[in-house]
Every structure is written in C-alpha cells, then in structure tokens.
Amino acid sequence: MAYWKDYYTPTTVEEAVAILARYEGKACMIGGGTDLLLEIQQGHRPKMDALVDPTRIEGLQEIVEEDGFLVIGAGVTHTTIVNDERVRSRGTCLVESCGVIGGPQVRNVATLAGNIAHALPAGDGTIGTLALGGEIQVAGPDGIHWFPMEETFIGPGKSTVDAKQMMIARIRFRPTGDQEGSAFRRVMRPQGIALPMIGMAARVQLQGDVIESCRIAIGPASKVPFLAVETMKFLAGQPPTSDTFAKAAEVALEEVQLRTSPHRASAEYREEMIRVQLPKTVAKAVERAQSGQAVPEGVGA
C-alpha cells in the first residue's frame, strides 16, 4: 500500500526545510518512522505526499561535543545513543531511557528527535532528555533556533515543532560533571501498548553533603512531559538521605496530575509508583554523583 508518494533524504538542513515548505503541509519529517508510519497506516494521521528523512544530513548522524554540550543530531538512533561512551557516563539517564524503547530493530532506526517531536507525556527518551535539561534546535521558516525542550510541549502529542514545516535538527544537554549523576526508571506492564505505566528521570548535582540542585521529569504526570519543579525546589539544599527522597516523592505527588489510562494504569497505581520509584531514582542519581561511576542499567530490558 502507498502511504506517501515521495521520499526525500536531503543532505542539508536548509534543503530539508525547503522541501517541507515546497509541499505546503503535505510533507513531514520522518525519523525511523516507528511512530509516524504506524499512525498513518492505522488511519490516525492523514497520508502524506512526501516524507523528509534527515538521517543523511551531514553531521546529523553523530553525537558531538560542542561548547560544553553533548549535541545529538536528528538522525541519531537510540542504538547510537545507547552505545556512546560519553552519553553512557555523562548522560546516563538518557541511555537508560532510550535503551528501553522497543527492541533492537526499533532502536536501530528510531531517533531521539522523533521521540521528542512526538511529544508524548511518557515518551521515554523525552523524559530522559528533559531531566538532563535538554534543548532542541529547531529549523523552520523562521530560521534556526535553540529552545529549552519544555517550552515546546503544548499537549499530549502536541508540540510547537510542527513537523510539516519545521525540523528538530539537534538536541543538546550539558553532560553531568563532577559530583553529578542521573538515573531513569520506569514501570511497565506486560500487556497492552508499549508505553510505560509511569517513567521518571532525575539529574542530581551534589555539593558535598547536600543536594545543590536537581532536575526531575515524570511521565505521564500531566498533559505534557512533566518537569517536577516543586520537587526540584524541595530537594535543593537537602541532605541526600532516604528520608529526603521519601519526602520528595510526597512533594511530587502534590504537583503531578495523575490520570487513569484505560488498559494501561490506574491513577492509584501511578501514585504508588511515584512513592516507590521516585526515591529509588533520585537515590541512584545521587549514588552515581557520589561515586563518579555510572553504569547504565536496564538497557534492552
């Protein structure tokens, strides 16, 4: 069956954006197509005249270090991220979150850019990137600009990055440094769709015996990938003890909006999982910050 007509693999960002413009809303970006093509095939999205694949754009298939950032190109697959030593040690929660997406066949083609552009509240790679303080570089009719990723989410599956006009060209975050660590955990059920019942990631900066600062992302905990700002504020300045972590979970429970998703998870279960998993996630990030060692866990699980 034909679900699109033309397939483009441009070699520059400008060319990609120009193709989108030329098709006037009848073309869109595609990464691995592991969300997009299924949605079109299953009738949840209209067929397209053209697909624009950024994986052959020069430089966008790589992860590079630039200006103190780790920069991930739009063509970078989850497999590439999972295998990258720099991300493993200094963006550990991203490896852990991308490493549980699908199986190897999916991770070999699916991109982090696609995961973020899809803007699902519980997109795993999205949650991992959000905790790291990720930014995305968007190229479109208005030029090319960096945005903190949380500014681009406007609703479940909705982002200001309109893939029919714009592309995410790059994603970047500051790698964790001295006394810093990150971790990701999720809870799945063995039935139904491939999205977690709940997932969360934390990035923790220690200052001696206290948590200096912290970023925590949880999904699904709101209409958009959720940054637990109050919990982050609470944790700043606290000692990294189990008591603190348990209290943090209670703070998080105050600020999240948990829903029951039919056949996926009840709000009560999600609440309980925040209580159980959030302390563990923060504790793991702290442990990594303290030891300076990070070995990603659960990849491929």
Binding site: L37, Q41, G103, G192, I193, H263, E268, Y269, A301
Partner: protein, 973 residues
C-alpha cells in the same frame, strides 16, 4: 517510479519502484526473496527482520528508499553453497523451528547479535540473547530451544534439551528434525503469500465494522465504477449455500440480512492493485439499521437480551451441555469442607504469526495467457495444474474447506481442490472458513487468480478466538482429603456464529471436575451467542478455562483442609480403574500419579541445588517467591461418538537407485511436527531411513482425507493410518522379496533400507522393483478408524485416550510493584509414547509459554462488540524475555490403540500452566486471582489493602461476580 540500488546478499541489485515501497515489499514482491516474512506490518513482531548495514531492522516499516545504497542481508543470503550458517544448523539441531514462519526473523536477529559479539570479541550470554530477541516473536517454540540454539551457534557447548524417554525403536522414539525444517531455516519454505500467479488480482473484504445491525441495502456501483476494480461481489453473487459452518451452518459467506459482529463480511472486491482495492472498499455503501448489542455470555442469557439469531428456537442459547454423575446433594452432604468460587477468563487470540491468506485460481487457468509461468521454485511437490477451481491456503481442515466452498459455489465437492500451503501457525484459529469461499467466487467471476492476504488488524477482527468464560465452581471434600462432589456452572461466550463452540464448551464441561476421582458431579455449561467475534478452537479447547477454575479451587480446598496441595491431588488423582465424571472407566494409560511425583521430585531438586530445604514460599528483599501447581488432562481425538477416522496413502518408488516412500494425507501441519510423526511411523514400519520418507500434506486431489487437525488427534489417527498403510506396503514388499530370496515373508527383517534374513540381503529398492515387476502396486491407502466412543450422557468411553499433565511454576513477585516473573516451570506429561522427543519437547515448551501468556499477558479486549485489541501492539504474547527455565519430564504410559502407544500432546501442556502460576501468586503474596490475565495494578492494590482476592484481570471492565451463588437462574427453558 525511482531507481533503488541496493546490495542484497552480496549482489548489487537495481529496481525501479515507487518511492512509497517498504523494504519488505521490495524484497518479497519485487525481488522474489520471499524468505522474509511479514507477520504484522506494524513493527511489532520482528519476524520481518533483515540486516541493513550490519544492523537488524524491521523491514515491514522500513521505507525502501531509506536503504538507498545500503547493504542488505536476508535469510536467503546465509547458507553458502549448501553450507548452512551455524545459526541455521543450530536451529535445526535444537528443534527451534516449528511452523517456521518466524524463523527467518529469529535467525537474522540472532546472526546480527553473533556478528556484533564476534567483532567485539565477547562471548554471548543468555541475557544477551534475551535483549537481542526481545521483540522478535515466536508463537510456537516457547523460546527455550531458540536460546539454546543461539548459544550453541555462538560457540558455547549447549546440547539440545531433550527429555529422557523410553529406549527408541529404529526411528520411533528418536529425536529427529521435522522433514520440512531445512526449507524453513533457509527461507525456501513456501507459505500462501509466497505464491504468485501471473495475472493475479488483489482481493479485499468489506467488513461490517458494526457489531449488530440489519442491512437495509448495499450499493456497490461506485466501487464497480472505479478504474482498476475487476469485480465486486455481495451475497447476491453467492450461487449456492449462503451460510457455512463446521458444526452449525449459520455463518454467511457474505451477509444478507444482518451483520452480527464487527468482522462480518459484507462484500468482496478484486482489483488490479492493493490501493485500488482499498479505495473500492471505501466506496461500497451499506445502509444499516443498528441493533442493540449483546456484549457477553451473561447478558446473552438474560430474558430481555437482544437476539443474535432470530430464527433459532432457543434464543441466544447455542448449547446447554450437562454432566451428571452420582447424587450431588449426597456429595455435598458427605463433604467436611466446601469451597465455592467464581472465576473468569477472557477471550484470547491465537496470534499465529502468519495472517490468513488464500489464493483462488479459476478452473482452466493458464498462466501463459497472462504472459507468464508459475514460479517453479516451489519444492513441495505441489502439482500446479488447474483443471478445477483451486484454492491455495493455510488450513487446518482441507477437506471441509473444500466441501464448504463447493456448497457456496453450488458445485460438487470434487469440483474444488484445496492445496494446503505451509502454515505459519494455526492453534485452532485456522479451522473455520476465512477467505476460501471469497477467493473462489472472485476467481471464477474474474477468470483470474485472486489473492486475499489479511492484514493483522483484519485477522484479529475476523477469526474465531478462545471463549471468554465465567465459571462458578463448588468443590467438596472430606477431612481425609477425598473429594466428594464438584458442581460447576460455565458460561461461554460463543460470539456471533457457532463455529466449534458446541464442541469446545463440551470439552470445558466434561473436564470441569478435573482429572480426579469425584463420586458426585453436576456440571452445566451454557454456550451463548453474542455480538462478539465468534469463538472456536484454540489449543486447549475449553479445558484451559475450566482447568484454571478447577485447580484454583483445589488449592483453596487443600488450604481449608490443611493439606499439602500435592498430597491432596495425589489422593484424588485418576488412576487405572478410576471413573471420569462422564462415566468413562479408565482401563489403561493413566500416568498422572507419576507426573505428580515428578513435580515433587523436581521442586525438591531445585532447592537441593540451591542448598535450601524445600519450601512453598519465601521472601528475599522486596521479592516474594513461591511455587504453585496445576494438574490437567485432555482427551485425544474427537470422541463423544463422533466417527473419528483418517486416511493415508503410503507410496514407495525407486529414485536414483534409492527407495523413497511418501506419506500423503490431508491433515495439516501448522508447526506441531506432524510430518515428523508420519515419516517416523512409515520409516519404522518399512525399515527405511527417515530421510528417505517424504510427506505430502493437504492437497485434496492427491491426499486422502485426514480429517480435521484438532483435538490433539493427528498423531493418533493419521499416525495410525500412515503406520498401517506402511505395514501393508511392507507385506507386499516382503512377499516380493520372499520369492526372490527364497525365504518366507514372515522371516524377513526390514531395517536401514534393507531386507535381511539368515545372511541373505536385498535392498528395499530392489524389493520395490520386484513388487512392481510382478504387477503389484506399491501405493497403499489405509483408512484408520479410531475405537468407537460414546456420546456424552450415555456413559462408557467418551474418548479413546487422555493425556495427563502436571506443572509447577516458580514465580517471583515484586512486593512494591506487583510485577510478576515466572522463573521456572516444571512440566510432566504422560504422552503415551514419545514418537519424536525433539518435536514433542517443542510442543510442550510452546504450549507452556502460550498458557503463560494466557495467565499473564493475553486478553482480546472488546466492549459492546467493538474490539479495543485492533492491532498486534495491543495484544502482547509472551516474548523471549518471559521465558522461564523449563524442566520437562516425559511419562510414557502407552495406550493400546495409539501408534506405538502414543496419545495426543498438542494441547495438554497448554492447560495447567495458568492455575500453576495463579496458585503460586497466592502462595507468594496471599492474594488469589479470580480473573486472568493477572493485572499487576489490581493485584498491587489488593496486596496493599490486605485483601485476599483480586477480582479484576487486565482488560476487564468490572470485577468478577464474587457472590458464590448461581450466576443466573438457568438460561435454559
């Protein structure tokens, strides 16, 4: 059209194709590399995996032009000059190939793993295999053999896991690869969609989409006017019988008065392309008057329920099935302990990996008139003549397909030919008519071959599933542990059409007191019509459901009695001399107690290995562990008075100086290993090496009727037919040889391809020639009749034999999340006689994992006749990561009439796993699960609240009625 350049299997290729092509389509349809299979087209099953620039990808959703310039390796590129790749060899050695449909995907994914690890200089661990194959599914094997095979291929010293069995005969009893496995591991095996006929059209079906509605009118004019549409047919175009059905003829080939479930077929289209066919479906206008929907079996039994089939005298009651033994009042009066509970099981889906496909070829078809030839690469001795309407399809019952198609077309049965292609799994879901009638109608209308390949979504929507049931069961026992009474009431959701409901629910009913000696039994089962997808056969045939209820109650009673669950079962287990609830006295072949002994031994051995004393449950940190057990049995053969017969031909000839024998019968191979059994039976009787025996199945013009492949019957009936035909053939050969060798025929020994007697020796090939020279035919047909059985309610032998099985499950539950892992399954099965321990083990492991899915992952969720489970991604079957360690024990209490003593095994292992796991969950966390699949969400909430009952399974909309009362006042008048 654009030029696509690839290197495929080391060779550069260029094809001019539309840019909308997927890689799988290019490989299969443009390059003819049909070894790559498509199971879902939604990046879910992984069986379409090919290697692109060193990495496995799902070719089904990989845009072909994304691969421009890439290096692509497919299954066809693995064996070099007849030398198998080590992974292929290992799959063969370990019996990791059953239906073979997933095999190319598993092998390609495994190869990529091995290549990666080799490049990194690392060894491959079991954990690595589980990560690499996590999303590459196999519905047949249960994965243990797959893991072992891959480890062997990586250079580890891993031997095939073959349980101990009796000393083998010459062939029978030996672990031998299924004869068709080689074709399957190399990608040469032909399934229906792999056939391509010149001039072939694409067929598609317009489905109702509504669960219950009256048809006011159907307008096909716009569809017919669409360029590229060759034919649009509705019920008006069905010249013969409008309905079909295996038991009751109630299922319209194309709906005429009403639609009764969302998957009902209303019209069919044949078009020049898939796109045109899809557009044509959109243009067909059906005017419906929606009717109220019957949502489930309990609602169906309410007096005010809407009626699904108005013409039936009993309303929605499809069948009331009864078992009566002794006096139930007496039984409960005798009881010291009584437990009464209600259980629920959901509708589940076979999820064979090959979606239904049928090709109709019109009578008199000549490929040359379409400028082509039929691809001669088909290897299975398929006779490509088309002097009658011919249907290529994967089917479990070729002869009934033929007869039902003939009836619809209004022609004689002999005017239709069914050619069964290899089948990528069936498990019961390919017994009813799918598109066979439709493609025959379209082919005859258009004069061209027409292929109908269902999408996964259509397959899910259309085909009969496992019955959802609600089972109330009341069990009584004395202080000493002896059961006194079982009373059960079952409601089965039969869906919109009868399919095999009556038979399936009868099995659920007659097995509802378990494999125990129970003096007083009353069982009432109500199979109901609803507006759900029809329910029919699915491995376990109703017994999977009732066993869950029976064995859960058994544990509850044991607890009340303060008795060890194993001891309690041992006290009550059927034995020779015992009587089933239908009044059948067991005269032989009851190995149940031995199976139970194995469980006890192996559970203890597990603890001894770990240096701990045996305990039913224990904790470690946040993890809770426990064992649970379940016991089951399953009839072999149709039974219940149904004539149960199979015919087979065994023909011998000489080819290149070698004796060849071919077994032909129209029974079906869907991965269960029937060819191996038939070849072994013939090889054994003829003394001919196994490799010299071929098997041809399911061509109704060349193979006699083997009857339905259902009820675990084929080893028994077709195995016997093949064995007895071979025996007669041996007599002919012996007579011919006796004359030449100067001995009496009775003195001759047939072994290893030779006939020997007192030092004189001749080859079987010679004997074949001698027989033929003397004018004897070396083609023997034998019709085997299984011993007569009695209808339910008349006492006596309802079945020719029963297989018995016992399983123990070790589970781990995270007390914080209620996530469940099954760590180990011990399964002991009395199979009568293991004809081929390798394929037998494959059946056992696959059955266990399938039933593990029934317990933990699988539910075809539907509400008001609208399935929520509309894609494979919404129906998780167990993946390799769910695979526990399986310990398998074979008990062989031979049955006198089975071939070499064998009974059926295809379903048995898929029966006791559910209660073994749910009993283990109870032992671990103190919560009993009354509805499966277990929902970790509800389970956790029950654990937190300190409740002992979990009444919601995953996908349920409301709790199981917990009131231990009659569920409804009798549905029957």
């Amino acid at each position: 059209m654009s030029l696509l350049k690839l290197t495929v299997n080391g060779k550069p290729v260029e094809v001019d194709v539309p840019e909308s092509r997927y890689l799988a389509e290019v490989l299969r349809y443009d390059l003819g590399l049909t070894g790559t299979k498509i199971g879902c087209n939604e990046s879910e099953c992984g069986i379409c995996s090919v290697i692109v620039n060193g990495r496995p990808v799902n070719s089904c959703i990989y845009p072909a032009f994304k691969a421009q310039g890439a290096d692509v390796t497919t299954i066809e590129g693995l064996d070099k000059e007849g030398q198998l790749h080590p992974v292929q060899q290992a799959f063969l050695d370990h019996g990791a190939v059953q239906c073979g449909f997933c095999t190319p995907g598993l092998i390609m994914t495994a190869k990529a793993l091995l290549d990666d690890k080799k490049a990194a200089g690392e060894r491959v661990s079991e954990a690595d295999v589980k990560v690499a194959l996590k999303d590459t599914y196999c519905r047949c094997t249960g994965y243990q053999s797959v893991i072992n095979a891959i480890l062997q291929a990586s250079g580890e010293d891993v031997k095939p896991y073959i349980p101990e069995t009796k000393t083998p005969h010459r062939t029978v009893g030996r672990a031998l690869a299924n004869p068709d496995s080689l074709a399957k591991i190399t990608g040469r095996a032909m399934y229906t969609d792999d056939f391509c006929f010149p001039g072939m059209l694409v067929g598609r079906t317009k489905r109702a989409g509504l669960a219950h509605a009256r048809i006011r009118s159907i307008d096909t004019s716009a569809a017919e006017a669409l360029p590229g549409v060759v034919a649009v047919l509705t019920h008006k175009d069905v010249p013969g019988r409008k309905n079909h059905g295996l038991v009751s003829v109630d299922w319209p080939a194309l709906c005429y008065d009403k639609v009764r479930y969302a998957g009902d077929a209303v019209a069919v289209v044949a078009a020049e392309s898939e796109d045109v066919a899809a557009e044509a479906l959109e243009l067909i206008q059906v005017d419906y008057e929606p009717l109220p929907v019957v949502n489930d079996a309990l609602q169906a039994a309410q007096p005010d329920a809407p009626i699904v089939h108005e013409e039936r005298p009993d309303g929605n009651l499809l069948k009331h099935i009864k078992v009566r033994k002794g006096s139930i009042d007496q039984g409960f009066a005798d009881a010291d302990v009584i437990v009464e509970k209600t259980y629920r099981t959901p509708m589940t889906e076979q999820m064979f990996l090959e979606p239904e496909c049928s090709i109709g070829v019109p009578k008199g078809y000549n490929p040359e008139s379409f400028g082509g030839r039929v691809d001669p690469k088909a290897e299975r001795g398929i006779h490509f003549q088309h002097d009658k309407t011919t249907i290529y399809c994967g089917t479990q019952i070729p002869y009934l397909d033929r007869d039902q198609t003939a009836a619809a077309l209004g022609v004689a049965n002999e005017d239709i030919r069914i050619v069964a292609a290899l089948m990528g799994g069936g498990f019961g879901g390919k017994e009813d008519i799918a598109a066979q009638i439709h493609v025959a109608l379209l082919a005859e209308r258009t004069g061209r071959p027409v292929k109908m390949l269902y999408t996964r979504a259509e397959s899910l929507l259309f085909h009969p599933k496992r019955h959802a049931t609600v089972i109330r069961i009341k069990t009584g026992a004395k202080r000493d542990g002896r059961l006194t009474a079982v009373e059960a009431e079952l409601y089965g959701d039969g869906g919109a059409y009868a399919s095999l409901s009556e038979k399936v629910m009868t099995r659920a009913t007659t097995h509802a007191s378990g494999p125990y000696e129970v003096p007083h039994v009353v069982v009432d089962c109500y199979a109901m019509y609803t507006n759900n997808t029809p329910c029919g056969a699915f491995r376990g045939f109703g017994v999977t459901q009732s066993c869950y209820a029976v064995e859960s109650n058994m544990d509850l009673v044991a607890e009340e009695l303060g008795m060890d669950p194993i001891e309690f079962r041992r006290v009550n287990a059927l034995d020779v001399g015992g009587t089933t609830c239908t009044g059948q006295v067991m005269r032989e072949s009851v190995g149940l107690k031995e199976c139970i002994d194995w469980l006890e031994k192996d559970m203890r051995a597990h603890h001894e290995e770990n240096g701990t004393p045996f305990q039913w449950s224990w904790a470690d940190g946040t993890k809770r562990y426990a064992w649970g057990i379940g016991i089951g049995y399953k009839n072999t053969g149709l039974g219940g008075g149904a004539p149960d017969k199979a015919s087979a031909i065994v023909e011998a000839w000489v080819e290149d100086g070698k004796a060849i024998a071919e077994v032909r019968t129209s029974s079906a191979e869907m991965g269960q290993g029937l060819p191996a059994v038939l070849a072994a039976c013939a090889s054994e009787e003829l003394g001919l090496p196994y490799e010299q025996v071929r098997v041809l199945l399911g061509d109704t013009d060349h193979c006699p009727d083997g009857g339905p492949t259902t009820a675990s019957r084929q080893t028994y009936v077709s195995g016997n037919a093949a064995r007895l035909a071979a025996k007669q053939l041996r007599l002919i050969l012996a007579t011919a040889a006796a004359n030449k060798l100067g001995h009496s025929a009775g003195e001759l020994e047939f072994a290893d391809g030779h006939i020997v007697c007192n030092g004189s020796r001749a080859s079987i090939a010679d004997a074949i020639q001698w027989a033929q020279e003397s004018g004897q035919s070396t083609k023997i047909e034998h019709e085997y009749w299984a011993p007569k059985t009695q209808p339910l309610g008349t006492g006596g032998d309802m079945h020719v034999a029963f297989g018995f099985g016992a399983q123990a499950a070790l589970v781990e539950i995270d007390s914080e999340t209620a996530e469940i892992k099954v760590k180990k399954i011990i399964g002991a099965n009395d199979v009568g006689r293991a004809i081929n321990p390798l394929t037998l083990e494959g059946q056992i492991e696959g059955g266990i994992i399938m039933c593990l899915g029934n317990t933990l992952t699988e539910h075809f969720v539907t509400d008001q006749g609208a399935p929520w489970t509309d894609v494979m991604a919404r129906y998780k079957m167990p993946s390799i990561k769910h695979t526990p360690k399986i310990i398998s024990r074979i008990v062989e209490h031979e049955t006198a009439d089975g071939p070499f003593g064998a009974k059926g095994i295809g379903e048995l292992s898929s029966i006791p796993t559910t209660p073994a796991i749910t009993n283990a969950i109870y032992n671990a966390v103190g919560v009993r699960v009354y509805s499966v699949p277990v929902d970790q969400d509800s389970l956790l909430m029950a654990m937190k609240a300190g409740e002992k009952e979990c009444l919601m399974g995953w996908g349920d909309f409301e709790p199981v009625p917990s009131v231990p009362d009659r569920i409804l006042v009798s549905a029957e008048g």
